[in-house]
Amino acid sequence: MSDSGGMTSKGAEPIAVVDSRSTEIQAVDVAQTHGSLYSSSQPAVQSWSSSTGEQSVPNSSYYYDPQSQVSMSGDAQGMSFTSHASTSSNQVGVNSTQPYSGYAPYSSSTVPYNYNSVGFQNYYYSNHPLGNDSTTQQVEGDQNPGAAYQPLSAFPNSGSYVAPTSYLGTYYNAGDNQTGTGYENNSYNYQTGLWNDANYHNYPQHLYSSYTTSATTVAQSSTTASTNSLYYQQQYNKWPYCYNQAMPAVNGIAGTDNSHAAPSLQSAGYSAVGVGAGYPYSSNQPPPPGTTSWREDSKPPGVSSFQEAATPYNVNKTWEVVPPAMQTPPVNQQSYFNNLLKPTPLPNENQDNQPKVIYSQAPHIQHSSSNHVPEIFQTPQQTAPTTEVRQFSKVQIPTNPRIAPNVGVSLLKTQKESSGTNAPTRPAYVSVSMPKPSDKSSAEDHGKTKGTFPPSLCAYVDRSFARCKDDSQRSANENILKQVIAKATADGTLFTKEWDIEPLFTLPVEQSDQQSGSPWPITKRSPSRRRSRWEPVADENLNDKLTSVDDNATKNTSLGQVEAAEKVAVKNSGSKSVNGSVGYKFLPSQQQSILPKFSQRAMKKPRFSHTLSATENVDHSSDSDKEQNLTKYYASAIALADSPEEKKRRENRVKRFEKGHGNQTDLKISRSKIAAGSGAYTSRTSGLLKPTSYENGQSKAVEDIDWDSLTVKGTCQEIEKRYLRLTSAPEPSTVRPEEILEKALHMVQTSQKSYLYRCDQLKSIRQDLTVQRIQNTLTVKVYETHARLALEAGDLPEYNQCQSQLKRLYAEGIKGCYMEFSAYNLLSIILHSNNKRELLSSMARLSADAKSDKAVKHALSVHSAVSSGNYILFFRLYKEAPNLNTFFMNIYMEKMRFEAMKCMCKSYRPVVPVSYITRALGFSKLTQGEEIEDASIDGYEECEEWLRAHGAVITSSNAELQLDTKASASTLYMPEVEDAVAHGDANLAVDNFLTRTL
């Protein structure tokens, strides 16, 4: 409560402090303004860059890069990046990531063990003075986005993985950054300080204590870090560093995550590496990835890198999420979550384009993050405030099924871990700070230059690596990248160039295949895991979730990522402290997704001390198992390019893009194409979030999702289409656009085929209308047509569906045969449902206009005939029924006749001539007024048959049949309907069903 209350006031003060200290603070402030996370984050990023420059050049450059990446994304690769950028969280994340990276440097600079203690102290100091909770939190949120970016960089890492030696080199470069990281760490401290002040005025001290304890063991330190979301980030950063450092060293160490982290921390060189990862991104995500990746590298380097890359995404997401929760009070957090959720969809879209590249990187991050993160997460969770957030996040999860799986997993992990570690490790702040560093580390992996590279460049590198199919390509790619970067550095355009829009250079070998292949390694890993967007998340299977997350990432489906991010966020939120961070993460959907994974893995990792295992199977406690899994995973990932399934899938994906944007026919995987594809995606995904939501990070709710952007635009040109109930998201290629549907409707209307065929066709038309959210006169026409057809065929269930839709459509003011269908509605109530209150309200709703309408008047007359039992009137109305009113009366006719028979048998004596009954009960086809010349014709026999079938006693006198009323009164009965079936619907009779053909 106090936190929330203090938010506003504190926020203001903290901002000021931040400014004085560094641009980073400004970024934080921006982050605080949730609404304008994006824009603010960008500015903040700039400030960051400046600040970073002051503090530590390498780090700053890293930070700068992330920012630039964000902006770049908007432009070039932009589609994807832009989508990221569009998510305010992403941008924020970038900013935050910078700070994080700073943190990472911290850890790196100090010996790992010392690190913790030092870092904590710093935190204390910073915390006390700054006292800006919200700002720091925001920063965290920003950082998360950064992490997402890092994942991209991670991709390069994967490439480097292929060539371990090269990786090492890159890492070392990162080492250069380490000094910078040290600076960053300082900045981090500030941030953390802010955090502490805001939420944890008391906390800081506790955290410190915890930190000191943790110092004894790296793993412990990580846990302490986790206590504070910021700490988390820091830890992440550290981890990344560690990872980076560890990576080289880790090659041997790889087995244990914690141990890895520790070693890295201890070794200065490692720390330097971490700097390289430096970019906060890498540090956050990378660390975990690093560890995992390292391990993986030892076995199947390429694969491992991919996995790691995937993990980064999760990590980033989680991170982001955590910060928000921290910053905003519970209520705010909820809103954040909502916002995050919205943004997430966009990220997904982005992911489609970038995701491939990013994913590859992301996996790395995730792994590493998972190892580190677990502890961190636990600590964040400890903070009570976040609990509410968790709940919120959970609630949100349903919205994005795909994401949800991931989130769920992460949440579970985090929750578990958090539950275990909550009490002691609340200092979660530390952990928060870490994530950014991981991002950087991933970036490092990609580019040798990553140490000081802007995030956009890292992403660019990631992209380039993402398209690499095999090691040879990767090495070639690496060489070219080196040249490109060297050139950019020489030009001085390294930081100014918009890498996001920069087209990828063409690879010497078949690039087209490579693109799809490399980005998707994860998918291969879990091809069967593919889930529909709307599939519910299975929390029970952590492994599944993880895999699903990976799948999502690989798929690049924006939704999937978003969902995953959301899930992660949710999970994070579930853990109190973590929750807050999750919320932030949500904003940058991509990052969020990464974060979630990260957090999940991290949670588990602490327990098992194996990041890799966490990613693959959380439950795998034995290293060997994990390693095996990883190797399999990697191997499968590598094999992706070769497997026919994968190829097909990739082709399909490419086709989807092409269909959406006909101009993009270039099969070359040149970056431009990717960008275009991403653009298409973004156009769809970005629509998810209303622009305002991006700008105003606050309280984005599910209702704010712009469903228009989710709406499928059909491309199918077939007029005829069988109805198939959708079990997954609609495929645009199988959905007919409006003009085709119009033709289809005409075809059905003029078709002479059976009702079953036409019903099937109409249902498919309705489905296509629904998925495209077309609601106009055509929709009304379709439903009206179907309702009439169903009536004619006596298919009341189908009619009811149509009628309820029509009611809604009419209510929206769409023109149609309103009178006709209000008459049907009345008749349906009168003759079918016989619901008095419904009838009353329906009648009350009739306008004076409607009451004078012929069809409605008729329906009302039918009502009075039925209510008074006036069979003469009823059958007269039957004969003059307009439209299809007859079909409703058909339903009631049998009952009406029987009632009339009972009435006659009681009131007439001694006999009633059958000829009269024929006339009275509508057996005669003649209309009123026509003279009946021969009673034996025109329904007479039918009437006699009907009377006999109902037990009437018929006598004949003078050759005229008569109903003996007295005798019949006791023998009348309602014969069982011959075709009646137990379940009440003759259409569902088995024989009927089996012989039913269209």
Binding site: K836, R837, M843, S867, S907, R909, V911
Partner: protein
């Protein structure tokens, strides 16, 4: 709004808070109720509400003092509700109030005695009133009106807390009545079933142990439900009970009961006196009654036409519509009486042709077949004793009581 100093605002809010806490600790239900009655007793709450607009950080105030903080879950949203209500933001006020009420209910569950029952009544009333206000506000701004629905589910929660054994169950009927009000307003009358079942079928309650006023309300609503179901015998019992026990001073309430009781009585053949309709301003039934007395179908149709909206909304339209048969019966009886005066020996033979003439004279466009059909229905429904000879187009009436009175029994179906 007059300017309030910070100190004065602080004083007013703390005064409110301390009164709340005092009321709880001293189990002063009356004071507590007054403090919770946001909309029904706003005048007395205006002072703290004004203060809240000046003094922003009321939450802190609640949380700072331990005495208040123990009820923070109630007081914080309650203050927010007060403030929102003062500003006319009823939707926000409702949301906050529901939160507060939820927390209060939680507390109430833990109190062993039912001392705060009065406050719970106020909660149930306020949640409904606020929801209605909020929905009006929402609908005027074109938004979804779902607050009353939310109030319904919250009332169900209260009902759940009260139903069952124990001293608190005496309040269940009041809450049930509030629920009925919500459901009738929402048109989700079918939801009343479960409430009624738990009160009547489950035999958790002995109706006698409830306050009379609640019983009257309960009978009124359940009686109305029976009108919907056209279960006139039961509806008559319930509504008559409600009318008999309704406070004699509550003219409006009696009118509401009569609005349903009169159609019910009409359909079982009991006509109201003219003065009753006049006294309670229920003249829309006047023509209906006249039609029943004279057999003039035109009057009935005209009444139904003129007051269609009103009858449809109150849900008696279909009931009144069914009086048509009684009007026919009256008309035939009139013919019979006239025939009897003319020629007693042939009075029991009523020619269809005569009936058609009479109907046509009344402006009813009917031919022989239809008139025959109506006669058949009258006989079928036991409104006429006798039989139709189709061959001769004659209704042969029973010599004994050819047009029996309903005498409190509904028309057989």
């Amino acid at each position: 709004m007059a300017y309030l100093s910070m100190g004065e605002a602080h004083r007013r809010i703390t005064d409110y808070l301390s009164r709340f806490c005092d009321a709880v600790s001293s189990q002063d239900a009356a004071t507590l109720s007054a403090l919770l009655a946001i909309s029904s007793n706003f005048a007395s709450l205006q002072a703290p509400a004004d203060a809240l607009n000046v003094f922003q950080d009321s939450n802190q105030l609640v949380n700072q003092v331990e005495r208040y903080a123990q009820f923070a879950e109630i007081l914080s949203p309650l203050l927010r509700c007060l403030q929102s209500y003062r500003l006319g933001r009823y939707s926000d006020a409702y949301v906050a109030f529901e939160k507060a009420a939820n927390a209060f209910l939680q507390e109430f569950r833990n109190w062993e005695t039912a001392w705060a029952m009065e406050a719970v009544y106020i909660l149930a009333l306020e949640i409904r009133l606020l929801a209605e206000k909020a929905d009006r506000e929402l609908s005027s701004s074109g938004k979804n009106t779902e607050k009353l629905q939310g109030a319904g589910s919250f009332l169900m929660k209260i009902f759940g807390a009260l139903a069952g054994k124990g001293p608190k169950r005496v309040g269940a009927l009041y809450v049930a009545c509030q629920l009925f009000k919500v459901y009738f307003k929402l048109g989700t009358v079918h939801l009343c079933r479960s409430v009624i079942r738990s009160i009547e079928t489950a035999r958790l309650f002995d109706l006698d142990e409830f306050p009379v006023k609640d019983k009257v309300t309960y009978m009124y609503y359940t009686g109305r439900l029976e009108v919907y179901n056209e279960n006139f015998t039961v509806a008559d019992q319930k509504l008559t009970y409600a009318l008999m026990h309704c406070s004699p001073n509550k003219e409006a309430n009696k009118r509401m009961i009569l609005k349903y009781l009169i159609p019910v009585k009409l359909s079982i053949g009991i006509l109201p006196k003219q003065w009753l309709l006049e006294k309670y301003n229920l003249m829309e039934y006047n023509e209906v009654v006249k039609a029943l007395k004279t057999g003039d179908l035109r009057l009935l149709r005209r009444a139904l036409r003129e007051h269609e909206d009103r009858f449809l909304r109150s849900g008696v339209y279909l009931v009144l519509e069914k009086l048509e048969l009684q009007v026919y019966q009256r008309l035939m009886k009139k013919i019979y009486v006239l025939q009897k005066q003319k020629d007693p020996s042939k009075a029991h033979q009523l020619k269809i042709e005569t009936a058609v003439k009479a109907l046509n004279w009344l402006g009813m466009d009917m031919d022989m077949d239809e008139a025959e059909c109506i006669m058949a229905i009258l006989i079928f429904k036991n409104l006429t004793k006798g039989y139709i000879s189709h061959k001769n187009k004659v209704v042969v009436l029973s010599k004994q009581d050819p047009f029996p009175k309903l005498n409190g029994k509904p028309v057989s179906s």
